[in-house]
């Protein structure tokens, strides 16, 4: 079956379905191991183990540090009865890819000096670029964990302890080099939610499961015939991929 044919058969038709089955769609999506329930490259009939080439670091080069990012994201958006957490959704790779690109290097931000801390109402005033903020943040998480939990690594802490650490960062209680821990934590939180809910083209929101959990149908061409509906309408989501299926 050609790729185009597959999409016509599954994605677009499914996009027109109304009601039930959306939550059921989560079942069978083996998200822990990088397998995909549906493989658009080879066709829907084959659901075996598939390599997801996006799940590789482009920014991080030290996997122990990447593991700190993974563990922190997972506490911000944990796996629970509502569905997958940040790791299953590919969020750490999403953040890694963002840090490697224009956002991580503050391409559209004003970064000329001089730099002053500023008031709490004057916003981002650090001289650090976002990728440097993450570098400092991970270093600081490791140091804080070691200092307060008898030399333990962050990833070795239990969930409650991890949350204690992250709360200290959120509250600005941790000394960091060149940036406040609040600024770091806000970036980390924002990037995590972005990875959960951005289009899967960016490497997170794997299999659109972030969207499915929330009842968000992604990209749909039109709600003209549904906008007046008194009923809540469950719609199988579409991703940006649907725009470009002719390529």
């Amino acid at each position: 079956m050609s790729r185009r044919r597959f999409i016509r058969n599954s994605g677009l038709v499914a996009g027109g379905l109304v009601g039930g089955g959306v939550i059921g769609g989560l079942i069978g999506a083996n998200t822990r191991t990088g397998e995909q329930a549906v493989n658009p490259e080879t066709g829907g009939a084959q659901t075996g183990k598939v390599i997801n080439f996006q799940q590789a670091p482009l920014y991080f080069s030290n996997m122990e540090r990447f593991a700190v990012l993974e563990a922190a994201c997972e506490r911000i958006f944990p796996e629970d009865q509502n569905g997958p957490g940040a790791i299953s959704l590919g969020v750490p790779f999403f953040i890694d890819h963002q840090l490697a690109g224009a956002w991580g290097y503050n391409a559209k931000e004003y970064m000329q000096g001089p730099f002053y801390p500023g008031s709490e109402f004057q916003g981002y005033q650090t001289a650090l670029l976002r990728h440097e903020v993450f570098d400092e943040g991970i270093t600081a998480i490791e140091k804080y964990s070691s200092d307060h939990y008898e030399g333990a690594k962050f990833v070795e802490l239990d969930d409650e302890q991890k949350d204690e650490v992250l709360s200290q960062f959120a509250d600005g209680e941790v000394e960091m080099h060149g940036v406040t821990s609040t600024t770091f934590f806000r970036l980390l939180r924002a990037a995590t939610l972005e990875g959960v809910y951005a289009d899967p083209a960016y490497g997170g929101n794997k299999n659109m499961q972030g969207w499915r959990m929330k009842g968000f149908p992604g990209h749909q061409m039109s709600f003209l015939n549904q906008i007046e509906s008194e009923q809540f309408i469950e719609i199988e989501p579409n991703s940006l991929r649907n725009y470009t299926d002719h390529h």
């Binding site: 992250l166 809910y197 969207w211 968000f216 990209h219 003209l224 809540f232």
Partner: protein
């Protein structure tokens, strides 16, 4: 060494709504006109993959590159202003169509009260009302009745879909299109406000309720309610957008040339008249001089004000004395809001359109009595259904930590079970809120950044509090299981998005001593310079500004054509 180009009759700086309208109308009248736009060219075909929340709504793909230019900000004269290093409180546009590409399309007419706010406030409440609140309040030098036909011209250009506002000013014509669809959310708001004795109506919308052809022969498609308006271009051409609705016509006249990547750095002038503008090709860094008989500044509030200040044109405003005019009366808006959490109902919150909504004007302008209130004016209260997108929409009840398991549970649950309503609180000018040039920070071309000195005032805080109480009442009447906690308005914060309704800096009026431009937006100090946009607002009202910006653009064009025939000061 700048290259001097052949002279044009008119040069326009900035190709958003106002620049596009002026280009179209001047070119139609036979004027040879060139438009200079520092951003890139774009149009319908460039909006093909817009359903991407991260790229457009979160990373601001269509908006200004702050690495090249931003503003600096401080609360008061004794504080050090620091650069707005990343976008937040408001979103600056860039590229052809300007913010008209990624606006929502809510299009109101300011109230008759707005244009004569000083006179009417004194007549009704006495001058002490203004003095008690320390307001620097001015009439605009024009009345609603005089502006009425120009409002309609803009509403036709932008294809406004709407219905009569029971408390709105008199209209001589119906809206060009019928109102947008009613949804369970807009109906709920209307029912609640009617129960409370108010007067709801559908928000006037520049998202088309049907296929529509405007006076420039542009065909706009019917809105599909896809939920991607604000911060996005419309891939259907269903939103009033200058790149679709106006610029193609201007080009067809044969009298209009549009140059992109042209960043104007100076209005060149001598003896009280401009001779042209200087600009940099932002790609090659080459410098050019474009001579012209008429110079039109139609950038954003910040751009217009800064360009006059860096060009030493007009007298800079002095916040110590209140003298001078360029940079005066910078205003913003106050955004009281409430979110209702509905445990028993679920809504299709992800569907919507930028200007789909219902609103009331019972607490806007002077539609309610202020005799016993410690503020003037008010705000339009609206419940809009613009399409909730998942990264930015994480409503949780008060007291919920902003991350972790509970946050995940509640933000997912309430994504489709919460509704917000908000007001656009009018912003009144005071002496200390103003714009000037920053002494330290420079743009990519070495010119000083614009410095904003701004904070909320007692008037603002009182208005915010009063309207906030009304919002809570409405939301409870709508049947919310619980509502968000109301906080007081304290200090202005440049970080969280509030609104891109910035105004002032080059204000209009009838007195050269207190205003920068007359009611044709012609500069008192330079008769062949017209400064068009919300920079001309002498204060900011309780509505989206674009309807009034558009009306003033049509008024200004009339002035330019008159000036072309007669010369001199038009007023």
């Amino acid at each position: 060494m700048a290259t001097e180009l052949p002279k044009k009759e008119a040069v326009i700086v900035g190709m958003g709504w106002t620049g596009s309208i002026i280009a179209a109308e001047l070119a139609k009248a036979g004027v040879e006109v060139v438009g200079l736009e520092r951003g890139k060219e774009r149009g319908l075909k460039d909006y093909y993959v817009v359903h991407d929340e991260l790229r457009y709504a979160i990373r601001y793909d269509l908006m200004q590159d702050l690495s090249k230019e931003t503003i600096t900000f401080r609360h008061h004269l004794n504080e050090r202003a620091l650069p707005m290093r990343q976008m937040g409180s408001f979103l600056l546009g860039e590229g052809s169509g300007g913010s008209g590409v990624h606006w929502n399309g809510q299009t109101y007419r300011f109230l008759p009260y707005d244009f004569q706010i000083r006179t009417q406030t004194i007549e009704k409440y006495g001058e002490e009302k203004i003095n008690q609140l320390n307001l620097q309040l001015q009439d605009w030098g024009i009345t609603y009745d005089e502006l009425e036909p120009y409002f309609y011209e803009f509403e036709k250009a932008a294809g406004i879909s709407g219905e009569a506002n029971p408390l709105g000013p008199e209209r001589k014509n119906e809206y060009p299109n019928p109102p947008m669809k009613e949804t369970p959310i807009t109906a709920k708001f209307k029912q609640a406000t009617e129960n409370l004795g108010y007067h709801p109506f559908h928000v006037p919308s520049s998202n088309m309720s049907q296929t529509y052809e405007n006076q420039y022969g542009a065909t706009l498609s019917a809105c599909q309610y896809c939920g991607y308006c604000e911060r996005f271009g419309c891939e259907y051409g269903a939103k009033g957008d200058p790149t679709v609705a106006v610029i193609p016509f201007a080009k067809e006249t044969g009298n209009f040339e549009l140059r992109h990547f042209a960043n104007v750095t100076e209005v060149i002038h001598e003896g009280g008249k401009a001779t042209g503008v200087r600009y940099i090709d932002v790609k090659t860094k080459e410098e050019f001089i474009q001579p012209a008989d008429i110079v039109i500044l139609s950038g954003y509030v910040m751009t217009n004000t800064r360009l006059l200040l860096t060009s030493n044109l007009g007298s800079p405003y002095n916040p110590e004395t209140g003298a001078g005019v360029i940079g005066k009366n910078y205003c913003y808006q106050l955004l009281p809001g409430v979110t209702g959490f509905f445990d028993e109902e679920r809504f299709n919150t992800f569907m919507g359109a930028g200007a789909l909504g219902a609103s009331i004007d019972d607490f806007n302008g002077d539609n309610f009595d202020h005799a016993d209130l410690d503020f003037i004016h008010g705000g339009n209260i609206a419940c809009t259904q613009t399409g909730a997108r998942p990264i930015a929409s994480n409503n949780v009840p008060a007291g919920t930590r902003s991350w972790g398991s509970e946050f995940k549970e509640l933000s997912i649950n309430y994504y489709t079970r919460s509704i917000s309503i908000s007001a656009q609180g009018a912003s009144m000018p005071v002496r200390e809120n103003y714009l000037d040039l920053d002494p330290t920070y420079k743009d990519a071309y070495g010119l000083p950044l614009l410095r904003m000195t701004y904070n909320f005032t007692e008037q603002d805080r009182n208005l915010y509090h009063y309207i906030g109480e009304r919002l809570d009442e409405i939301m409870l009447e709508m049947g919310a299981s619980q509502i968000s906690e109301r906080s007081n308005l304290e200090n202005y914060d440049i970080v969280p998005y509030q609104t891109t309704h910035n105004t002032g800096g080059v204000i209009m009026g009838d007195d050269p001593g207190t205003s920068a431009v007359n009611n044709y937006l012609q500069m008192w100090d330079a008769e062949n310079v017209f400064v068009v946009g919300a920079s001309a607002f002498a204060h900011n009202s309780g509505y989206n500004p674009t309807g009034t910006v558009g009306a003033l653009a049509y008024r200004a064009v009339e002035g330019m054509l008159k000036y072309r025939e007669e010369g001199g000061n038009l007023v």
